[in-house]
């Protein structure tokens, strides 16, 4: 029976959540290296408008399937002991984190490469969209600008 992994979580990924994830790995004593990526919301300024928060939406069912496919491909390509991916849905404010990729390997080299691979795959393939809300109450759909 296949274990179900839920990637999408409502709201920001908090430091406490990350700490809890790390702590859970202390019993996995074949792990020697963890590599973690966190995506944080930048206070960018675009055309004089200051980013206030980002609202994430996804095709949830499809996204979970895509994340599962990405996971499987990473397990095939790299020697990974375990892997966790979390992505926010809904509103994430400037300074908060919206993506948490957590790879654990026996040795370090694989962990770096797997980390970069996973983040790039997620950015390219996960059906997730972000609406960048500015402090002046205007917004932009990121990646669809100029359409």
């Amino acid at each position: 029976m296949k274990k179900k992994h839920t990637v999408l979580i409502e709201g920001p990924i908090t430091p406490a959540f990350i700490a809890d994830s790390i702590a859970k790995h202390s019993s996995k004593t074949d792990i020697g290296a963890h590599a973690i990526f966190l995506g944080q919301i930048r206070k960018d300024i675009k055309d004089n408008r200051v980013v206030k928060n980002i609202e994430y939406t996804a095709h949830n069912v499809m996204a979970e399937q895509v994340f599962e496919t990405i996971r499987e491909s990473a397990f095939e390509k790299y020697e990974i002991v375990c892997m966790h991916i979390y992505h926010s849905l809904g509103c994430v404010k400037v300074g908060e984190n919206s993506l948490f990729v957590f790879i654990s390997c026996k040795h370090r080299t694989q962990s770096f490469h797997a980390l970069e691979y996973l983040v790039e795959e997620i950015k390219a393939k996960a059906p997730i969209w972000k609406k960048e809300n500015y402090e002046d109450k205007t917004y932009t759909w990121v990646g669809s600008e100029g359409n």
Binding site: G39, A58, H59, V61, M62, I128
Partner: protein, 79 residues
Amino acid sequence: MKLNLLFFGSLVDATGIQKRELSTDSLIDVSLLNEYLQSVFPLLKKHKYKIAVNQKMVENEQELQDGDEVAFLPPFAGG
């Protein structure tokens, strides 16, 4: 047949729709459906997007069947 249309990201603004059921007997493939929707929502033509049927990316020739979920996906922007 009945189709379940889903629009995401900027396409929600372009169509004013997130989710809608469509009954049709003539829109038998993705290409015909897309042309129809572009005529109803002309703003769609200004957007780049791909189409997924039942959560799989498809090409225009893909035939549609009763109960299919057809999702309109602008460029992904996760992370």
